[in-house]
């Protein structure tokens, strides 16, 4: 897919999401907010998981920290938008420091360390009651103007974040950084050998993957108005986001966008019919994805698919 076509598709998608209040029900508007939010998270994860190929499962830690950083600063009198910016930089700084430590590991060890980070941050947040309210959670002032107006505002906010992340992705994709990250993904030792500063590149990718999770988290906290540890640091989210990205096509610009849209729609359809089985559905999506869509939806070649189903190859009979 050419670069221009990808931009066009993305712009059309943004327009479709942004205009939902004018042509769809409140339910669809809410869905659009969720899609925009998860698209930002999946695009963020794409920096470390897609471009660099590191199995990072710390999205929920960044998102949750963003929620709490935003909420705590808002409760201390910081204006809402400024609180989001504070959360962004706080989470970015956290990821830089953490990345410098855990990015020395590879493979399973990195994956496990990144999951453990989610747990440790969640446990610290839930036991630091004086600042975070502990297990009771935190309440935030709700915006005035009625639920519809609030939903419109946050729809635009989430879409704005999504557009920013997409622009950053497009910039990274074309830049030296993106090239270096792809080299690391293919062969880290070789990349190191030819002069890619692997540690710095990896930390940059990890920080990028965290930065906007912080913004999204803080905006989410302001939108929902109430946060608590098990919701903010959900282990399901930490897997869902990579799965969305993998479903679309990791390491591409449009992959996370398409993957998130496909996943969310799938989830909604099943959710409406099989409420008790939402985890199993995520599991089934994963199994199908791994076995039948190894490169994601974007890697599907429609011509091959048509060929395979239309002209089934005859088995040699002996």
């Amino acid at each position: 897919m050419s670069r221009r076509l990808q931009y066009i598709i993305f712009v059309l998608w943004v327009l479709a999401l942004a205009t939902t209040p004018f042509w769809a029900t409140n339910y669809i508007v809410r869905l659009a907010i969720t899609i925009a939010m998860y698209t930002s998270l999946a695009l963020s994860w794409n920096f470390i998981g897609g471009f660099t190929g590191y199995p990072s499962f710390s999205t929920a830690a960044f998102f949750g920290l963003g929620c709490y950083a935003g909420a705590v600063s808002q409760r201390h009198g910081v204006p809402m938008v400024l609180a989001w910016i504070v959360a962004t930089f706080f989470v970015g700084a956290f990821a830089t420091g953490l990345g410098a430590i855990i990015l020395r590991m590879r493979g399973h060890y990195f994956a496990i360390a990144s999951i453990a980070v989610v747990e440790v941050v969640r446990l610290v947040v839930s036991s630091w009651g004086s600042l975070t309210g502990g297990g009771d959670g935190l309440n935030l002032p709700l915006l005035t103007g009625g639920p519809n107006a609030v939903a419109r505002i946050f729809l635009l906010v989430m879409i704005a974040i999504m557009v920013i992340v997409f622009v950053v992705t497009a910039l990274v994709d074309r830049s030296r950084l993106g090239f270096g990250l792809r080299c690391i993904q293919q062969n880290e030792d070789a990349a190191d050998m030819v002069g890619v500063d692997t540690t710095r590149y990896k930390v940059a990718a990890y920080t990028l993957s965290a930065l906007f999770c912080g913004t999204v988290g803080a905006a989410y906290a302001s939108w929902i108005g109430y946060i608590e540890p098990s919701d903010s640091f959900s282990i399901i989210m930490t897997v869902k986001v990579p799965v969305m990205c993998l479903l679309g096509g990791p390491g591409t610009m449009l992959g996370p966008v398409i993957g998130t849209a496909a996943f969310t729609l799938l989830e909604e359809v099943f959710w409406a019919n099989f409420l008790d089985y939402n985890r199993a559905i995520l599991g089934a999506v994963i199994v199908v994805l791994i076995f039948f869509l190894p490169g994601g939806l974007l890697a599907l070649s429609w011509r091959d698919l048509v060929k395979r189903f239309a002209f089934r190859p005859q088995k040699a009979s002996t």
């Binding site: 493979g107 399973h108 994956a111 360390a113 799965v243 993998l246 008790d276 939402n278 791994i290």
Partner: protein, 286 residues
């Protein structure tokens, strides 16, 4: 004296942790797969034991071998049907796949059994040795856990299957050249991992409540024990389990029980950075 009691509690807990982690460690070491299913398999073993006891009055001791065998079969099938297809794929693929399978198993258990905690209550009472009090059901659990771990060690060292597993672990290509059917060994190894999980579940059903809410906790413990002890070896899991048990026991006393878990995870993160091969590990053999 109080310290001695804490130490004993820690060791009892540690033996249980060793049994919990040894199957996970074996699968990770031999197949190079982080088995996210482990926690759910333990809980499944717990449920089977509970319902055998509750419904038919079968003692957990008798149910244990049957549960272990059932889970072995389940593990063998899961590996042959699903995981063997992605062996050797990048970590992201294998980890996500086992996580997906875990979500499915977890979901079905929650729907069929609901998350209500259940427990096999044997009411054996505590035993008092020179002022140190240990609940008898825990002590029994510890002995069973040690016995099973020892048995696994013996199987790995002495039996043909065990030697084949070790050979595959060291060099699967060379093992294949020596006539070992590697895929089958993978399935057997995963089966043994599930077997140990089922047996652990049977033991834990006597000591802890059985509920699906605990799958993540058990999995977390298995991670920590493996990282502390080093991968793929029975003694490693034993050392890791007992170290974790003692540390949790003491940190629970000093910082309060709610922080015991955090201390374990922080310890794991530090060890991962400082010495990723674990306390008993050999460099370059991870």
């Amino acid at each position: 004296m109080a310290y001695l009691q804490t130490l004993v509690n820690g060791i009892v807990l540690g033996a249980l942790y060793a049994c919990l982690a040894v199957g996970f460690s074996l699968v990770w070491g031999v197949l190079n797969i982080v088995n996210m299913l482990h926690g759910s398999l333990i809980v499944l073993g717990g449920y089977l034991t509970f319902f055998a006891w509750h419904g038919y009055g079968i003692s957990p001791l008798l149910a244990l071998p049957a549960v272990a065998l059932l889970l072995f079969l389940l593990g063998y099938v899961i590996q042959s049907v699903a995981i063997n297809r992605v062996i050797g794929a990048p970590v992201l693929t294998t980890l996500t796949l086992t996580f997906g399978l875990d979500l499915i198993l977890y979901n079905f258990m929650t729907v069929y059994y609901t998350a209500t905690p259940r427990r096999v209550t044997l009411d054996l009472g505590p035993i008092d040795i020179g002022g140190i009090v240990v609940p008898l059901d825990r002590l029994l659990g510890m002995l069973l856990a040690l016995l099973l771990t020892g048995l696994l060690y013996f199987v790995m060292r002495r039996s043909r299957i065990g030697r084949a597993i070790v050979a595959v672990r060291m060099d699967s290509a060379a093992a294949a050249l020596m006539g070992i059917r590697v895929k089958r060994i993978y399935a057997i190894t995963f089966g043994i991992g599930a077997l140990m999980a089922g047996a652990t579940g049977a033991i834990f059903a006597v000591v802890y409540p059985v509920t699906t809410n605990l799958t993540g906790t058990y999995l977390g413990k298995a991670f920590v024990v493996c990282v502390i002890g080093g991968l793929g070896s029975v003694p490693g899991a034993l050392v890791g389990g007992i170290v974790l048990g003692v540390i949790e026991s003491f940190s629970g006393q000093f910082f309060g029980p709610q922080h015991a878990l955090t201390v374990g995870f922080v310890l794991m993160l530090v060890l991962l950075v400082v010495k990723p091969t674990g306390l008993t590990g050999i460099k370059g053999y991870e």
